[in-house]
Amino acid sequence: MTAVPELDPVIHAQARLRVVVTLSALPGGDRVSFPSLKKMLDLTAGNLSVHLTKLEEAGYVEITKAHEGRTPVTYVALTRRGRLAFEEYTEALRALLGGVT
């Protein structure tokens, strides 16, 4: 009997999953600004911050702070590890649904 694959709990929360999907849809080498990510996902700044911290602790996202003129802007990108974790997550999902992985 094959073992039931486990879903990565860091990614499996709905809001974090949407964050990871959004970041994974960006071409490699790109990062997105915090305010625009918040707007696209329709989350509050506090809520998004909490989710990003969890993803950062797992090593799935990289958060960089930059200055554009005098305005500080935070950028978020998926790390290589995060991209790999998301690929494994979708494979595990398909396996749960009985598809070919």
Binding site: T22, A25, L26, P35
Partner: protein
């Protein structure tokens, strides 16, 4: 804070919907990119055809040039609007590619204008318009092909290839029919591609 757990198929659906939303946000609406350029070239080059090929149309080449340039300025404005309205502010490789690609257009067109203008005094006045048209459309064709290679966009690549072929044929045909070819085969193709891509978005 974590929401109710979704079933695997609901989760896959959520992933697909989110991916689609991001793609929709990042890829410019073709109604702001392909269609305005198609319309500008269709109307502008049709005016050139009428100016040089149909005496009874009463259109001077100056008026045709004004129509073409005006249309291109409007198309350029629409394209800038269409490519900058994405709500996701992305930095990194994509913005660097976009900047280099934009500079390539500017440099290509500026140098082409300079080079062609140095030949103008040696040419029959009737050929000046055709020289500028073929050279500028050829640069556009090459940059569309290059854009297709940069963003792995086969439609963009084939549109560039098609433009290059039409430019080659038009140069052999000569005016006034070269302008009619540009209007229908380039302008029309751009409008058609824009509408088809809009429906497939």
């Amino acid at each position: 804070m974590d929401e109710v757990s979704l079933s695997p198929d609901e989760t896959l659906r959520l992933i697909e919907e989110q991916r689609k939303a991001v793609r929709h946000d990042l890829i410019p609406n073709p109604l702001f990119t392909y269609v305005p350029w198609g319309a500008a070239w269709f109307v502008g080059y049709l005016a050139f055809f009428l100016a040089y090929g149909v005496d009874s149309a009463g259109i001077s080449w100056q008026l045709a040039l004004a129509i073409l340039m005006g249309g291109q300025i409007l198309a350029g404005s629409a394209m800038v609007y269409g490519t900058t309205r994405s709500s996701l502010r992305v930095k990194g490789h994509t913005s660097q590619r976009g900047a280099m690609y934009g500079i390539a257009w500017f440099v290509g067109m500026a140098v082409m204008g300079w080079v062609c203008s140095t030949f103008v005094i040696h040419l029959d006045q009737n050929l000046v318009g055709l020289l500028f048209s073929t050279c500028s459309l050829m640069i556009a064709a090459v940059l569309y092909m290059a854009g297709g290679a940069i963003w792995l966009d086969w439609t963009m690549f084939f549109v560039g290839t098609w433009m290059a072929v039409v430019v080659g044929i038009a140069a052999a045909v000569g005016q006034p029919y070269a302008y009619l070819l540009f209007a229908i085969l380039v302008g029309g193709a751009f409008m058609g591609v824009g509408v088809i891509r809009r429906h497939r978005r």
